[in-house]
Amino acid sequence: MSVRVFVPGDSAALSVGADEVAERLAAEARARKLDLTIVRNGSRGLYWLEPLIEVQVDGARIAYGPVAVEDVASLFDANFVAGGAHKLRQGPTDEIPYLKKQQRLTFARCGITDPLSLDDYRAHGGYRGLTRALELAPDAIVKEVIDSGLRGRGGAGFPTGIKWRTVLATPADRKYIVCNADEGDSGTFSDRMIMEGDPFVLIEGMTIAGLAVGATEGYIYIRSEYPHAFRQMNRAIELAHRAGLLGSNLMGSGKAFELHTRLGAGAYICGEETSLLESLEGKRGQVRFKPPLPAIEGLFGKPTVINNVISLASVPIILDRGAEHYRDFGMGRSRGTLPIQLAGNIKQGGLVELAFGITLRQLIDEFGGGTASGRPFRAVQVGGPLGAYFPEKLLDTPLDYEAFAALKGMLGHGGVVVFDDSVDLALQARFAMEFCAIESCGKCTPCRIGSTRGVEVIDRIVAGTEIGKNLTVLDDLCETMIDGSLCALGGLTPFPVLSAVKHFPEDFDRSSPRAGRRSAA
């Protein structure tokens, strides 16, 4: 019988050599006359172990990693196909503590199945959510999502079911479901993992959304930095179509849903929902004034549900297991699980899906294993380029929307980027302003001009020029941006800046050198 070996086709795994490893595995197997079936799965999200290969032995999967091309011959010598001992052997994958301690709901299948096998998808619970949704009335589907407590995972944390209810209640000849797969925040990759590793769950989630609000057409807007995810989604849509899971007669129900993909074009602001809609319409990605809400007048002027990939990919399990099952995870008003992305200067970076409530410290120590460099921890930025920088003393903050808001930070899309003591927070603050200047859509002056002024002011501080006076200027500038910006790009860029000044004042006092700090470029 053929031995099944799993080698991720996830683009992060590819970035560290997974294709080359798969080729060498196949070549060695041929040379050794072994019958090997190589499955290109998604990633398990244990990125420090990628390329992580797995072999199926008596129903269990045994992991080896990180595997370099040069290790392949020795793996065969060690009889890895039967789970043999080797220095890269990590034991049964499911028993690896990093994975075992997680609560995987949205990522239940990612890395386990062949992402493009509908049989695999179904065998692991796929399409049970849609089957149930097809038996329910639209308002019953919406109620289920409201009751689950699911809040948007794209950043703003708005209750998903409430948004759907508005679209359901707005009569129109045509409505749309739009998936926001722009994932522009540094430190995030969960959308990418789902699209590459379990694309059918997104298709299923969007189809359920269509049934819930009466939309028969959907678009997935994927950033152009993710060409691999784009191709994978297109293949999956094609397969779902052929199987009657998309198109004019969903599972023989007579109900219809069509799905299209579109590529972004390298603009961070197009992750903002109204800018994204403009971009989908083929225009400059400039932010729209609200109201009207996209739920009332969205894509091509029609009522539109716009949700993040993870929000939509969490819907099938909510429909399948019921609202209560999902709501039972989490704390306070943050219900369910959050796929956290642990990144940056961290020994064990990867995807950690957990109920809300774990603290940053537990995450960084117990999962992350400390910094990658081995130097002392100094700062963590949560929530992407608009998220605050926190020092060590705030590490006991639980991951919860409200707890972060209380500290003038945000969870955003769940990206956690760790920095060691070589970081210079003045330069990080400068980057926040620079990024805003580069990515501003240009509509409001405080954002467009203020961010450029912000860079100049921080440059003066770093140069040691009238530090006190310039810090006051910076403060005023931040206030103007917060008050005078139409969207959160201009409105939240001050948060990383002000948090850096507040929690790391020593980095803005350039008169005294600080141990470990990089010299300014």
């Binding site: 992060a12 925040d185 995030t188 579109r262 083929g282 990144a343």
Partner: protein, 159 residues
């Protein structure tokens, strides 16, 4: 990949025809043009405007809004280095300095021999394997200066 085709108005027009019926067709068309030719020639703007019933200013406004679209042909290989925070935390600054020195160009410039164009990118979703970069359509992670040299050598040998 890539080795772009030389700009050809007729081929460009047929790409436009292929995509023009799509809702919001301008972006898909611009992507198709850039994928084929490596850039979007300014001379095509009137044709695009006519095909999509837009003004030339509108078409130009869209092309210039998005960072992706180039208005002149790139080198044979495009190297994009990630400048975002997770890569910063893993020392991307040294990598960027190294790449600029080795290629003798700044961002948005092409080497004299036409082999490489250097560009900046803000996150490739490879933040747990930082620092990250792409060469043409391939992503690379955990890249240090030595690995970058090796990758550039390999790419330089390709046609």
């Amino acid at each position: 990949m890539p080795n772009y085709a030389v700009w050809d108005d007729k081929a460009a027009s047929s790409l436009i025809d292929e995509h023009r019926a799509k809702p919001g067709a301008l972006l898909p068309i611009l992507h198709a043009l850039q994928e084929r030719f490596g850039y979007v020639d300014g001379g095509i703007v009137p044709t695009l405007a006519k095909a999509l019933n837009l003004s030339r200013a509108e078409v130009h406004g869209v092309i210039s809004f998005y960072h992706d679209f180039r208005d002149s042909p790139p080198g044979r290989h495009v190297v994009r280095l990630c400048r975002a925070e997770a890569c910063q935390s893993m020392g991307n600054e040294q990598l960027i300095t190294h790449a600029k020195q080795r290629l003798g160009v700044d961002f948005h410039e092409t080497t004299h021999d036409g082999r490489f164009t250097l560009e900046a990118v803000y996150c490739l979703g490879n933040c747990a394997c930082a620092p990250a970069l792409t060469i043409d359509d391939k992503v690379y992670g955990r890249v240090d200066a030595a690995r970058l040299d090796q990758l550039l050598d390999q790419a330089g040998k390709r046609p």
